[in-house]
C-alpha cells in the first residue's frame, strides 16, 4: 500500500510497531503523554485527597510531605486537583478530535474524491473557517448556551475541522485515480465501499498526526477558556480555572501558579512532540 523504506521495517503488529518506534525516536513524548493519560484514567482512584472539599485552615501551603504539591487558596490538595484537571483536559482533547475529525474528514474526503463544485464550496468554507479567531466563536457559543467544558470545546472543535479536512482532501485526491481504486471499481464496489474500504484506511496515519497536534491545541484552549471563566466552572478542577485562582495569590504563593503551569505545559509539549514523532513514523513531510 504505502512505500516503506527498508530500514523502517516494522514488527508484526502495527500498533506495537508505532510504540517501539516512539520509544526510540521520542521517549520524552511517549513518557509525558503516558503520564497524563494514566492520570486522566486513574485520577479519581489514586488522588490522595478530595478534589473539591475545602479546608481553609490549610490554604495556600507550599509543597510538603502531607501535600506533595501544596494546597490551593481554599485548602484543596493541588496534586489531587491536577489529577482531576488531567481528566478534564483529556475530555477536551476527545471532544475536539471527535468533532474536528468526524466532520473534517468527511468533508475533506467527499471534496477530494468528488472534486468539482463540492470541492470548491468545501475548500472556500474551510479556508474562511481556518484562522478565524477561535475565541470569538467561543464567545458566541458560550453567550448562546452556558459556560461549560463541552460548549467551550465545540468552538475549538469547529476550528479543528479545516485541519482534518485539508489532510483528508489531499489524500483523497492522491488516491482518486490510483490503480487499486480503479480495480475495486472494476470489481463492482460501490462508491461508499470505495470510500470506507479503500480511501479512508490510507488516511489513518496522517489523521493521527493531525489529531495529536490538534489535541495539543485542545488542551491549550481548554486551559485558556477556563482561565477566562468560559470553560469548566468551579469547583471542578481544570488547569485553566486553577491558574485563574492562582493569579490572585501570586504574591503570597507563586509556587501554585508555577506548578499548575508546568503541568499543563508538560501535557501540551508531550502531545506536540508526539505529533512530530508520529509525523516521522508515517513519513509525513509536515511543516
Amino acid at each position: 500500500m504505502t512505500d516503506v523504506p527498508a530500514e523502517k521495517r516494522r514488527p508484526s503488529h502495527p500498533v506495537l510497531g508505532i510504540f517501539s518506534f516512539l520509544a526510540r525516536r521520542s521517549p520524552l513524548a511517549l513518557g509525558l503523554v503516558s503520564i497524563f493519560v494514566l492520570a486522566a484514567i486513574l485520577g479519581p482512584f489514586i488522588a490522595p485527597y478530595s478534589m473539591t472539599d475545602t479546608n481553609l485552615a490549610m490554604s495556600l501551603q507550599g509543597p510538603s510531605a502531607q501535600h506533595w504539591l501544596g494546597t490551593d487558596p481554599l485548602g484543596r490538595d493541588v496534586l489531587s486537583r491536577l489529577l482531576g484537571a488531567s481528566r478534564v483536559a483529556a475530555q477536551a482533547f476527545l471532544i475536539v478530535v471527535v468533532i474536528g475529525g468526524v466532520v473534517g474528514t468527511t468533508l475533506g474526503t467527499i471534496a477530494g474524491s468528488r472534486g468539482g463544485f463540492i470541492d470548491l464550496v468545501v475548500s472556500r468554507v474551510t479556508e474562511i473557517l481556518q484562522g478565524f479567531p477561535t475565541i470569538l466563536v467561543a464567545i458566541v457559543i458560550v453567550a448562546l448556551l452556558n459556560p461549560s467544558l463541552t460548549n467551550a470545546m465545540i468552538a475549538v472543535g469547529l476550528a479543528a475541522i479545516p485541519d482534518f479536512a485539508r489532510v483528508a482532501r489531499s489524500v483523497a485526491i492522491q488516491l482518486r485515480d490510483r490503480e487499486f481504486i480503479e480495480a475495486a471499481r472494476g470489481l463492482g464496489a460501490s462508491e461508499t465501499r470505495i470510500l470506507f474500504g479503500e480511501i479512508m484506511p490510507n488516511m489513518v496515519g496522517p489523521l493521527i498526526v493531525i489529531a495529536s497536534f490538534d489535541g495539543a491545541q485542545a488542551v491549550l484552549w481548554e486551559a485558556s477558556l477556563s482561565f477566562l471563566g468560559m470553560g469548566v466552572q468551579p469547583p471542578a478542577p481544570s488547569f485553566g480555572s486553577m491558574l485563574r485562582e492562582a493569579q490572585n495569590y501570586l504574591a503570597i504563593q507563586p509556587s501554585l501558579a508555577i506548578i499548575v503551569g508546568l503541568a499543563v505545559s508538560g501535557f501540551i509539549l508531550g502531545l506536540n512532540l508526539l505529533g512530530d514523532a508520529l509525523g516521522d513514523y508515517f513519513g509525513e513531510a509536515r511543516r
Partner: protein, 314 residues
C-alpha cells in the same frame, strides 16, 4: 488584478455577513428577556410587556434581524444592558488600548522572529540548530497566559520593577504607558514568536533550495548577501500571508492578556459582557473583532498582489 481583488472583497463581505448573523441569532435565541433584565426585579408584568413592545422584541426574529442589520449598518450598535451606555461609546473607549497592545506585540514579534528564523535556516546544519527547534516546540507548548503569570511573579513580585496591572493611557503619560505595557506586550509577543520562527525557517529553507540562489552562489555572491538580497525578501512575502493566518491567534491572545493585566480594552469589555450576559456589547465586540480580522486579511491580500506580481497574473 481587478478580478482577484473583487473575489477577495466578496469573500470578506460574505464572511462578515455570516459572522453578524451568527452574533445576532446566538444572542436572539439566548434565554432571558432583555426587557425584563433591563427593568430589574421590581417591574410589573405590564411594564415588562410595554418595554418589550417598545424594544421591538415582540416582532418575529426575522424582522428583528432586518431591523438590527439596518441599525448596525448605519453604525448604531445599541445600548449596554449593564451600564446603559451606548455600545459605540464603550467600544470607542476600549479600542485604543487593544490596538496599541496588538500592534506593539506584532511589531516586537516580527522584529525578533524574522531574523531568528532566517538565521536558523541559514545555519540549519550547525550544532545549535537542533536545540533551537526544541526551544521553538517548547515555546509553542507553553500557554501564553501562563507566561504572563510568570512574568508578573518575576518582574512585579520578586524584582518589583514593573507594574502587574494598572493601564496608563498614552494620552496621560507616555513613560507611564510604556511602563505599564512592557509586560503585556512581552506576553503577547511570546504567543506569536515560536510559530513565526518555525514558519520563517521552513519558508527560508524552501527559498535557499531555489535555483536562483544556486545561480547567485555560483556567481560568487557571499552567504550573507544571498540571505539579505534573495532569501529575506522572498521569505517576507510568504510570511506576510502567514501573519494574516496568525491574526486569529493575535486577537485571541490579546483578549487573554487584557484580562491578565487588567487592560481596559475590547477583550476585557467582551469578557465582562459574556460573564454578565450583556448581549448588545457581546454583539458589538464580536463584530468589531471580526471586522478587524477580515479587513486586515483583505489588506494583506492586496499587499501580497502588489509585492508579488505572480499572484495577480496567476
Amino acid at each position: 488584478m481587478i478580478s482577484f481583488l473583487l473575489a477577495r472583497l466578496v469573500g470578506a463581505v460574505v464572511t462578515l455577513f455570516f459572522v453578524s448573523a451568527l452574533a445576532f441569532f446566538a444572542t436572539a435565541f439566548a434565554p432571558g428577556n432583555p426587557a425584563a433584565v433591563l427593568l430589574g426585579n421590581m417591574a410589573t408584568p405590564e411594564r415588562v410587556e410595554a418595554v418589550t413592545r417598545q424594544m421591538g422584541l415582540d416582532q418575529p426574529t426575522g424582522i428583528r434581524y432586518m431591523i438590527w442589520l439596518r441599525e448596525t449598518l448605519s453604525g448604531n450598535l445599541g445600548t449596554s444592558n449593564l451600564s446603559f451606555k451606548p455600545v459605540n461609546d464603550l467600544l470607542a473607549a476600549a479600542l485604543p488600548a487593544t490596538l496599541e497592545l496588538a500592534l506593539a506585540s506584532l511589531l516586537v514579534a516580527v522584529v525578533i522572529a524574522l531574523p531568528l528564523g532566517l538565521l536558523v535556516a541559514q545555519h540549519r546544519d550547525s550544532w545549535w540548530s537542533r536545540p533551537t527547534s526544541a526551544l521553538v516546540t517548547l515555546g509553542i507548548s507553553v500557554p501564553g497566559f501562563w507566561v504572563g503569570l510568570i512574568l508578573i511573579v518575576t518582574f512585579s513580585v520578586w524584582l518589583k520593577l514593573l507594574p502587574s496591572a494598572g493601564f496608563v493611557p498614552l494620552s496621560r503619560s507616555v513613560a507611564g504607558n510604556v511602563r505599564s505595557m512592557i509586560l503585556p506586550v512581552t506576553t503577547l509577543a511570546i504567543y506569536l514568536i515560536p510559530s513565526l520562527v518555525r514558519f520563517v525557517r521552513v519558508a527560508a529553507i524552501d527559498v535557499l533550495r531555489e535555483s536562483y540562489v544556486d545561480t547567485a552562489r555560483a556567481k560568487g555572491v557571499g552567504p550573507w548577501a544571498i540571505l539579505l538580497r534573495h532569501v529575506a525578501p522572498n521569505t517576507l512575502i510568504t510570511t506576510i500571508t502567514y501573519i494574516g493566518l496568525q491574526l486569529g491567534v493575535l486577537i485571541s491572545g490579546a483578549i487573554v492578556v487584557e484580562v491578565i493585566f487588567s487592560i481596559p480594552g475590547i477583550g476585557r469589555l467582551g469578557m465582562n459582557a459574556v460573564l454578565n450576559r450583556d448581549y448588545p456589547v457581546i454583539q458589538g465586540v464580536v463584530l468589531v473583532a471580526a471586522t478587524g480580522y477580515v479587513a486586515v486579511n483583505l489588506l494583506i491580500d492586496i499587499a501580497y498582489a502588489l509585492i508579488d506580481p505572480r499572484v495577480r497574473t496567476g
